[in-house]
């Protein structure tokens, strides 16, 4: 069927597909997806981001391209390039909305149909990494995304949690989802892990501490690291700035660079 032929050609140039998941909302999936993309770019890689959060697409604004439009070409949609060098490209439903405040009030079947299109009809070209940012949960979007990506053997999934038990509780379910769907878990990130007061340097564990690391141990998956709460990071994302380039002294920078390096290590051990 031409659909399958189309899928083959548009993802054929993508070397590694990485999903960013969490059972829980608001833990920093889009943040991590964006920062990973920026860090991988700084390591000289060509990166695409596919934002399959149809109800709450956050990535366009985080990369300052919220006002851009998507164009069509012969092979499908041309993703939006974030920079002059075309080293980061992005596809999101955010680009298809007439007004940014328009709510996408769709039931499952319609969401599934668009996700399949996003996976088969975006002309990514050659990419080192395609990062797939997902909404919270284990439902239509996740099932459709994993099913559609299966023929392309994704590298795996990075799971994001915050330290407290209420988040970890949902991420445990996401681990089950990965197991059931045969998706490799590259590791768990514990985000919003501690806040260092910029005035007095006192560290407060606002959302508790250690839950992500404990979960990784309990589940037997790698722990990729703790990323602290960092107002400079939040501000960067609000303004669509390149945090990795502009804030190397920031408290979240070492953790984020470290995580990107671990992803690169996974891909190089895969090729060898």
């Amino acid at each position: 069927m031409e659909e399958l032929g189309g899928e083959k050609s548009n993802l054929a140039g993508v070397r590694h597909i990485l999903l960013v998941l969490s059972g829980k909302g608001g833990v920093g999936k889009s943040t991590i997806s964006t920062e990973l993309a920026l860090a991988l770019r700084h390591a000289g890689k060509k990166v695409g981001i596919l934002d399959v959060d149809l109800c709450g697409p956050s990535i366009p604004r985080m990369l300052k391209v919220q006002d851009k439009d998507v164009h069509q070409c012969d092979s499908g949609w041309v993703p939006v390039f974030v920079d002059q060098d075309k080293s980061i490209s992005l596809m999101s439903i955010g680009f298809l909305l007439e007004k940014p405040d328009d709510a996408v009030v769709w039931r499952g079947p319609k969401k599934n149909a668009l996700i399949k299109q996003f996976i088969s009809d975006v002309a990514w070209g050659g990419l080192d990494f395609l990062i797939v940012d997902t909404p919270p949960g284990t439902s239509d979007e996740h099932i459709s995304t994993v099913e559609s990506l299966r023929p392309y053997q994704p590298l795996g999934a990075v799971l994001v949690t915050t330290p407290q038990a209420v988040s970890v509780g949902d991420v445990r379910r996401e681990l089950t989802f990965c197991k059931k769907t045969g998706l490799r878990v590259i590791g768990i990130i514990e985000n919003m892990s501690g806040f260092v007061c910029p005035h007095c340097s006192e560290c407060t564990n606002i959302f508790s501490k250690g839950g992500g690391e404990e979960l990784a141990k309990h589940a037997g998956v790698p722990f990729l690291g703790c990323v602290p709460l960092d107002p400079q990071l939040s501000q960067s994302l609000e303004e669509g700035r390149d945090f990795i380039q502009e804030f190397p002294k920031s408290s979240a920078f070492p953790a984020l660079s470290n995580i990107a390096q671990q992803i690169l290590d996974v891909t190089s051990s895969q090729s060898s």
Binding site: G26, C55, V105, Q117, P136, S139, Q164, E202, E238
Partner: protein, 321 residues
């Protein structure tokens, strides 16, 4: 012999198999199930709607807790709202958790591990206090690792059951905690409760634009489905360092926060709740933050907001009379 549907991915723009347009829309051309959908005839009214309406007659006030954005504190707020309202032991409070994939309420209410029991009157809610009952998919799962990997229609079926089959009894306040987004669960709760009276929605956000941009969509959704908005709560609004007492904006309101958004969209700002590490701790331990840390500024914020919600519901009740 009844024709069986063929398992295929639905066409782009599939109107949905239970829609009035099923089999008849332009998008249906070429779908192997087109004939089946078209021949099904107009779907009659779901009998459950009437049953739910009957069940809801004993519920005086219904409040939906919504947000376009995940992780802003909907469940946390729902839990505190439930505790706050139930502090008056003459009031009967019910807390319904329709987040099917990520049910946080059992843990937050200290009810992890509880199971649902059946009685002659239906499913019994799990009671935290005599006057505070809770229902969640969490009580139907046997292990904390169990994932609910369901597509929309199955989730909708469970929501219908929660409304139709749970023996809530006579209730003063029914609080419905929702997952983030504007999708199946939200449409279903409006579909099933739409014919009954819903007092309104409390919308939760955090100060930064990345949340507000999703919350504006949720406000848009409320207008579309004619759900009144009681107001917006700005959560995680500033953090006071316990050591030096200086304030930090961890989630900076770069576009004016909820205050500016509410002004622009003409909705009420019910209040702002600061970040307090004790909130997360109480939730993790299944305790009422309002009771555990009564001296926290966050507790007074919550209590003021809860009072405003009660006033709103009371005002509407007297208007109805």
């Amino acid at each position: 012999m009844a024709e069986e549907p063929v398992a295929v991915s639905p066409p782009h723009d599939c109107p949905g198999t239970s829609s009035a347009q099923a089999g008849k829309a332009a998008a249906c051309q070429g779908c192997p199930n087109q004939r089946l959908c078209a021949s099904a005839g107009p779907a009659g009214p779901d009998p459950a709607l009437e049953e739910i309406q009957e069940k809801m007659k004993g519920v005086k006030h219904k409040i939906l807790v919504l947000s376009g954005k995940g992780g802003v504190g909907k469940s946390t707020f729902s839990a505190q709202l439930a505790h706050g309202l139930a502090a008056n032991d003459t009031k009967q409070v019910a807390l319904l958790d329709i987040d099917i994939c990520g049910p946080s309420i059992p843990k937050m209410m200290g009810l992890e591990g509880e199971q649902v029991h059946q009685s002659g009157f239906g499913w019994s809610p799990v009671y935290v206090e005599e006057n505070l009952g809770v229902m969640s998919v969490g009580f139907l799962l046997s292990s904390p690792d169990d994932a609910v990997i369901w597509r929309g229609p199955k989730k909708n079926g469970l929501i219908k059951q929660f409304l139709r089959d749970v023996d809530w009894g006579e209730v003063d306040y029914l609080i419905v905690d929702t997952p983030p987004g504007t999708s199946d669960e939200h449409l279903s709760i409006m579909q099933y409760l739409g014919a009954t009276h819903i007092d309104g929605a409390v919308i939760i956000t955090t100060p930064q634009e990345v949340s507000l941009q999703d919350v504006r969509k949720e406000i848009n959704f409320c207008h579309k489905v004619k759900l009144p908005i009681i107001g917006v709560v700005e959560n995680m609004s500033g953090f006071i360092c316990p050591k030096c007492k200086n304030e930090s904006q961890i989630f900076p309101p770069t576009t004016g926060g909820a205050e500016m958004m509410c002004k622009n969209l003409n909705v009420s700002l019910l209040g702002k709740v600061p970040l307090d590490p004790q909130i997360g701790k109480s939730c993790d331990n299944g305790q009422s933050f309002l009771s555990e840390v009564p001296e926290s500024p966050a507790t007074s914020s919550y209590k003021n907001i809860i009072q405003r919600i009660q006033d709103y519901c009371g005002l509407h009740q007297s208007q109805e009379k």
